[in-house]
């Protein structure tokens, strides 16, 4: 029974003189990166489902404006129709929760935490206690975000972008504490916790990957997943602090009467806004996007790393262009810091600034194309094994291509004039994050499940999950490009108010129905994850997929100290001998 072996293979914590840890130290307040990784993963999946549900409700209003939501509508409003207030709250929280509570914790907190120490041959992260702290700070941030729904003013309702002056004047409260106990203020407070969690985590990842590498693991022998995670960690480390500063400033504008972002002469609802004025709303946009652009690369890079591992394993040949791939990932990370104002083209930008940011935006498409190309070229001459992880990893490629390509008309200022803040933008970024990153993360779950638990997930359920999802997800997001071309703005409660919106309304029905099918498609996945732990097909060896990276040297699941015998690295990942024999990194050739 894998459950028994799980217990027996647990090493002793030396600092406790050889005694087994109590349950709450082993599984709740654990410093073991594997337990923490799983904690991140389970919490993140919960938040992903929550954020998804918010959108499923909004999708009813979008498809059938002003009609009561069936069965559960009356839980939200008296007549069952989603109100504009709730629509805006759900919209803002959908974005926030998916990005900061869902995808990043899953991609970085779960996959990064679990795999990076294993893939470099380490016994744990460099700072295990800090690791534990970063999870619990994330957890508190998540609770604060959820509690924001219960304030008198409801949750934040100014988009995940929280642009002032709207985010400062929206849902105000009386005095300091009254101002603090509003959804919009709690959003800012929650962000401070989440940012702190990310900062702590990224220090850990970088130090672990660099310092705790085993003998023989030079940088150019790192698996692509490690390169992706380390680059991501640098992005989080350096890009998040300006948003933390900006968040504090916006909080002060809300509860302290300051005017960092509030210009003079504001008249809100007929009354002069009582503050000193002299502030600049555009300052917030600069500080926000300085983080939020690198943030989107934080969303995609771990996915790129996971897809790389899975493609290597299931093509049974070396990854094409490893060096090019690594340099592209690093260049992408660097460039991500100097494109941010392409989100701000419509703020009254002149020619010089807009030309600079257009140029950097065009340049950043180059490493993205190179990464996609190296994966595509890996398929040439391969022997492709269509496991469920490989299905998702393969689908990632064209989906990421659509997402990336649709960034081009947005990155060029002149075409952005028409497409800015329309559904085209929503389609663009969702393609990258949903059938892009989320598919890659799902692939990762199927792929590493046997390592984490010692059992496989069901193949049949996996295939059903895949085919239903890939069809439904395109049904949700492809129509958005057409809707954007037609000029339909984002964040509209009811686009049929406009003639051009009314004409495009049939697309909404297609998108909503697809979204509900997509939701149903996740049920086999959730069931599969929950039940395969106990009843899945056992993995007969430590390396059932025939992979080459170090995590497959450990037993499944790995013991507390990961490796009971010393590991050493003898070659680069993804290599084979001349007689086509798989050569894992940790096996000395005979």
């Amino acid at each position: 029974m894998s459950h028994d072996s799980h217990n027996h293979s647990h090493g002793h914590d030396h600092s406790h003189g050889g005694h087994e840890l109590p349950f709450w130290r082993k599984y709740i307040f654990s410093t073991d990166h594997k337990v923490i990784g799983l904690q991140y993963g389970i919490t993140a999946v919960f938040f992903l489902l929550f954020g998804f549900s918010l959108m499923l409700l909004m999708r009813w209003q979008l498809a059938f404006p002003k009609q009561a939501i069936p069965l559960i509508g009356k839980l939200f409003t008296e007549d069952g129709v989603l109100s504009p207030e709730l629509y805006n709250q759900f919209g803002a929280m959908h974005g926030t929760i998916m990005v900061f509570l869902g995808v990043v914790p899953l991609a970085v907190g779960a996959f990064g935490n679990y795999l990076v120490p294993l893939q470099v041959g380490a016994h744990d992260m460099a700072f295990p206690k800090l690791n534990m702290m970063s999870y619990w700070v994330y957890f508190v941030g998540g609770i604060v975000m959820l509690l924001s729904f219960m304030t008198p003013t409801g949750a934040a309702a100014s988009g995940w972008t929280s642009y002032p002056p709207l985010s400062v004047v929206n849902g105000p409260g009386e005095g300091f504490w009254g101002g603090l106990f509003t959804g919009q203020s709690m959003w800012l407070l929650g962000m401070v916790f989440l940012i702190t969690s990310s900062l702590l985590g990224s220090v850990n990842t970088i130090v672990t990957a660099i310092q705790l590498r085993v003998k023989g693991l030079s940088f150019m022998r790192w698996p692509v997943l490690v390169w992706a995670q380390v680059t991501t960690a640098f992005l989080l480390l350096l890009a998040f602090p300006p948003l933390e500063a900006a968040g504090i400033m916006q909080l002060m504008d809300r509860v302290g009467g300051t005017s960092f972002f509030m210009p003079s002469g504001l008249v809100v609802s007929g009354e002069a806004w009582k503050a000193s004025g002299g502030g600049n709303p555009i300052l917030w946009q600069h500080l926000f996007w300085f983080l939020a652009h690198p943030e989107v690369y934080v969303l995609i890079l771990p996915a790129v790393g996971i897809v790389g591992e899975i493609i290597a394993v299931n093509t049974k040949k070396p990854l094409y262009g490893y060096k090019t791939l690594v340099y592209s990932v690093l260049f992408l990370g660097f460039m991500s810091f100097i494109v941010w104002a392409h989100h701000m083209f419509m703020t009254g930008m002149g020619v010089t600034m807009s030309t600079f940011f257009q140029a950097t935006t065009m340049i950043i498409s180059v490493p993205s194309v190179i990464i996609l190309t190296t994966y595509l070229l890996t398929l040439w001459g391969a022997s492709i094994r269509y496991t469920v992880p490989m299905l998702f990893a393969t689908a990632f490629l064209p989906m990421f291509a659509i997402g990336g390509l649709t960034g081009l008309p947005l990155g060029l200022t002149a075409s952005d004039i028409h497409l800015h803040d329309t559904y085209y933008v929503i389609g663009h970024f969702h393609y990258v994050v949903a059938p892009g990153t989320l598919f890659a993360l799902m692939a990762g779950v199927y792929h590493w499940y046997p390592k984490i638990s010692g059992r496989f997930m069901s193949d049949t359920l996996g295939k059903i999950h895949f085919w239903l999802s890939v069809i439904a997800i395109n049904g949700v997001f492809m129509p958005m490009f057409f809707m954007g071309m037609a000029g339909v703005s984002r964040r509209l409660y009811d686009q049929t108010v406009y003639a051009h919106g009314l004409a495009a309304q049939p697309l909404n029905v297609i998108m909503s129905v697809s979204a509900w099918i997509l939701a149903i498609a996740q049920l086999p996945f959730l069931y599969n994850m929950a039940t395969s732990w106990k009843w899945g097909k056992k993995a007969e060896s430590n390396n059932p997929w025939g992979a080459t990276t170090l995590e497959w040297a450990a037993s499944s699941p790995p013991p507390h100290e990961n490796f009971t015998t010393p590991v050493e690295v003898y070659r680069a990942p993804y290599e084979y001998s001349s007689n086509k024999k798989l050569l894992p990194q940790f096996v000395q050739e005979a």
């Binding site: 130090v207 660099i210 310092q211 009467g257």
Partner: protein, 199 residues
């Protein structure tokens, strides 16, 4: 478990630093970005303001702030001396110099308290103008970092110093990291002082 994590006491052969030292440098890099955002805010607020004080000295107490600068710079010296004392295996001298560091830091906070209360007494709050908003936020965040440093140093001079008996190298490494952090806090002040008070 900690016995299984290498490079806690001795530096890594390639990077030349311990894990904690690398971690501290990375953390300080993020702190540079944090204060950088606030300094950028200062510049942007100032260039677009209509009622900014012509000189910081018009509204802020330069002599007091100069004294604070002396306190911080001196405390940076004393914290290095405390680390050097450990390198020379002199725990008493370490405690003496770390004690001086903490004392000087408290001095800094006292002066900050005097400054702030004087401002409040005259009806100047962050909400008064963008100048005061930036002033209070920049110095306030810096002050919070000073407090963080004081708490850490109090721990290291007190209960934390027990580590010297069993793991002297590791403890010395901790003091070195604390010193790095403290120098950073000092450095921020060295930018802050001219930016707000003198210019």
């Amino acid at each position: 478990m900690s016995a299984l994590i290498p490079y806690i006491d001795e530096p890594h052969p390639v990077t030349g630093v311990t894990n904690a030292k690398l971690g501290m440098w990375l953390f300080l890099a993020s702190e540079v970005m944090l204060f950088g955002a606030l300094f950028s805010t200062l510049i942007i607020m100032r260039t677009s303001a209509t009622d900014w004080p012509a000189h910081g000295s018009d509204v802020l107490n330069v002599p007091l702030a100069t004294l604070n600068t002396v306190f911080l710079i001196t405390s940076s010296v004393t914290i290095v001396l405390s680390w050097a004392a450990l390198k020379m295996k002199d725990l008493k001298k370490f405690k003496f110099n770390m004690g001086l560091t903490i004392l000087l830091s408290f001095g800094f906070l006292v002066i900050k308290y005097i400054e702030y209360t004087s401002k409040f007494h005259h009806g100047h709050f962050p909400s008064t103008s963008t100048f005061y908003a930036v002033y209070f936020t920049l110095t306030g965040l810096h002050g919070l970092h000073v407090i963080g440093g004081i708490i850490t140093n109090l721990y290291l001079i007190g209960p934390g110093s027990k580590m010297w008996e069993k793991e002297p190298e590791r403890f010395t490494g901790r003091i070195e990291c604390a010193g790095l952090y403290w120098h950073f806090v000092d450095l921020v002040w060295i930018f802050l002082f001219p930016a707000l008070y003198l210019l």
